[in-house]
Symmetry: C2
Subunit: 359 residues, 2 copies
Amino acid sequence: MTTDLTDRRQLILKLAIQEFIESSQPVASELLVRKYKLNVSPATVRNELAVLEELGYLTHLHTSAGRVPTDAGYRYFVENLMDRTPLSATEQRTIRHQFYQVRSELDQWIQLAGAVLARTAQNASVVTPPRAQQARLKHLELISIYDTTALMVLVLHDGTIRQQTLTLDMALSQEDLSRCASRINERCADAPVERVEEFLKQERAQMPPGGDALACQVLDLVVKAMHQFNEHINSDIHSDGLIEILSQPEFSQVERVRRMVEILQSRRALGTLIPRVLSSSGVQVVIGGEHSYDEMREYSVVLSRYGGGEIVGVLGVIGPTRMAYPRAISAVRYISAVMSDLLAELYGIEGASRWEAES
Amino acid sequence: MTTDLTDRRQLILKLAIQEFIESSQPVASELLVRKYKLNVSPATVRNELAVLEELGYLTHLHTSAGRVPTDAGYRYFVENLMDRTPLSATEQRTIRHQFYQVRSELDQWIQLAGAVLARTAQNASVVTPPRAQQARLKHLELISIYDTTALMVLVLHDGTIRQQTLTLDMALSQEDLSRCASRINERCADAPVERVEEFLKQERAQMPPGGDALACQVLDLVVKAMHQFNEHINSDIHSDGLIEILSQPEFSQVERVRRMVEILQSRRALGTLIPRVLSSSGVQVVIGGEHSYDEMREYSVVLSRYGGGEIVGVLGVIGPTRMAYPRAISAVRYISAVMSDLLAELYGIEGASRWEAES
DNA sequence: GGCTAGCACTCACCGTTTGAGAGTGCTAAA
DNA sequence: TTTAGCACTCTCAAACGGTGAGTGCTAGCC
């Protein structure tokens, strides 16, 4: 679907969609003429609108109601018509400043990204923490809590932390635990799960039968945790901005709100989008009926990967198809750039700040 | 306000409130007679209802509408009239089983507690993680990430984990970092923030001027983190169950939903309740206008402390004043008992399972 | 051929009316 | 003290009609 429309039709389609996004009211021919000083009569605009409807970019709820964009209309708008203005310099500065302030607290990035994204794009937001595809063990720590209980803290090379408590077969001192931990650390530095498993096998094969019982117990947990990490790429989707979308007119019936809440917390639909976004670069837009899940028919998402090299995450915006796409896209693009920069700084990956130039 | 009502008035008040909680419709005199086979005529019940209204336990939206409980009515109901039946044995077993399955993953407790509480009580839920009042350093770990960046993992004695990245003045090897960490660990084992501060002061006073630069940098962060921990007892309130309350008729207007979402995420009103609950035992119920914040006038909360000894948390239910109090209270009581048991098991505190007997 | 004025036609929306139904409060009698 | 009876109040839903917004079509104009 290329630019097969006359200039005037493009203009009218663009104005109609912009107008509808802004007002959420079906847009009428006369309004367009009056508001945008078109040098033609309403009747002419009506004819053009009829053509655009014919082509599938607009619809009608009933005769004598204004035009409303279809999913195809939004798609055409996003691809060909939309103004691609970045966030204002002031906004960029404010956002970057906010991230700068929490830059040493990794887990606050996520929260901040969600909040800023939601507020900037006036929609709900989703963010996944930055992570590697495959876990590699960075550091293991065993901390004695009480007699036979201990805390295991697992740090993966992408900064992910997993904590788990374990019940020991017998009371062990902190020294025993530390000795075990450092043995594993030495042996499994930077190891992917396969190598940890191998070590576990060796350990089990040793004398006394079953080898070092504690090491086996711990390694077993480590292996499980790493497998879980590898298999559940989408388990950790944070969302925010419910309050933002509640003020949108499409959520004036609670039933709609309920469906949105379900989408945000079920992760079904969102989870399946993530892999796709991870394996592509740039901002991805999925509009209404383009989703593979029916419950998403009324919603659009704007997603982008962030990070670089091995360590990546996804962030984006979700809202009704009547979404301020230009703004949402700019926000997603800019915030993913900021997050990429932060990550690059941390891991010494060469700057993703090529984004910066673009905005 | 003691039991100053005749038996019949108590019965009628109890039935009226139960009926309203169940149906959310104003309750009429005739309905009570018919449904509960009272051996009096509707007119008699009307007279009694009029008295109860006089006493402030019930109201009227307008003539010719049924009766609706007031906050005082609910209060009287909760104190004197309510059936205190615990959760069914099956339900108890199911819940305990679910917790048992995630018992080694501390951070999943919170999530599970929130979900189970919300589902069981059919309302929104709030849960704070178990924590000590005062931080004591359990273990510090420094992990080299890249040239001049490192990850600091702080474990407090209550199992709380804080992670933070730090930028080093110069590139240091993992060995350097580990040496520094273990020096601090040795010196500050089980130390409250004051002792860490003291150590930092000593360190700074040493030669070379400023002492061990890395140690100072790290200790500074540790002190900050511990102070923050001590000062923000309420910062970490998880909530769940929005979906549950969306099906309640009081949330049929989105405006109500918005206010609830704001309450859940602002933490203002909830945060101020927490200290009060922490310093008292048993289940606390705050009904509508009894709240000190106006925005809570239409809502009730049922809260309980859980845990024991030094390490405690709060969990509870929040919903419209028309809440199924008996069920909410049973759920809060039981789940706090389960969480207390789990914590006791972990930290070897003598069983809080006295709760168990009660249910 | 494209544009436009004019006009009939179609709906949604709003305020009003009306009737029915639910439930109370009061009164008078058992 | 209880109750039957009844008038009265108020909500709710349906029906109605008028209004206004906006279209689609047609015929004439440039």
